[in-house]
Symmetry: C2
Subunit: 140 residues, 2 copies
């Protein structure tokens, strides 16, 4: 499942189209010098950036604000051994502009958790890579 | 979705039981000083370590052999906003013992890709953490 020649590379438009189809992805970052990963629900903004909602006191905000992170989403079918994965790599930053914040409260991702206060984290889609696994048995 | 108080922490036995239910997880590591993540199919060995099969020439082997990585798996239901995630953090190492290799060729995870040569990577389950999201609407 990790040989490059068995995957088809996906272009940026196709990657963003696939990302928009799934509700949950994973933020990949570093926590106390160790690799860390946190699944989150998210929305894709019009510019292709990934937007998450969280609590202002969350560990995630402390760990990733201003830092380059990866964000991954995928879908696989074990029966056909096919699927896709997309990774966005870019700088994460808290949304601090009040107008932007207000827009996201209306149109942004609703946290799956009840939050007293909400902040939004945006991950810029500076690098977007994706791969399409067609199935080792040629099912797809 | 990232507030600690909305999640139930899962114990190690429950984490390993859940990991054994899913075919695909994600290796989280560092590539050229950037966070990197790669979905892979895997098997859970009897000692709770995560075992992957890959090509000896794969970028993954070069990047993670001898290094502490994270390995994540999850399952979420967007309708009920419930699910779980498990993260194993530990040292990744190529399986070099011939008897161990032979055993994994028989019983280990079969790569979803046709591989000319296969090697196995083992991620020790030194730290296993998991969280259970019960659903913001109390469905679960």
């Amino acid at each position: 499942m990790h040989q490059n020649d068995a995957f088809g590379a996906l272009g940026r438009p196709e990657c963003l189209r696939l990302l928009a189809e799934v509700p949950v992805g994973r933020v990949v970052y570093t926590r106390q010098a160790l690799p860390a990963v946190l699944p989150v629900n998210f929305a894709l903004d019009a510019d292709g950036s990934v937007v998450l909602s969280t609590s202002p006191e969350s560990e995630l905000v402390r760990a990733v604000d201003g830092v380059v992170v990866a964000f991954e989403a995928d879908e696989f079918d074990a029966r056909t051994r096919s699927g896709w994965s997309v990774v966005v790599t870019g700088r994460a930053a808290l949304v601090t502009d009040p107008a932007e914040h207000a827009r996201l409260v209306q149109d942004g991702p609703a946290s799956w958790m009840p939050l007293r206060d909400v902040v939004f984290l945006r991950i810029e889609s500076e690098m977007v890579t994706g791969r399409d696994l067609r199935g080792a048995r040629g099912v797809r």
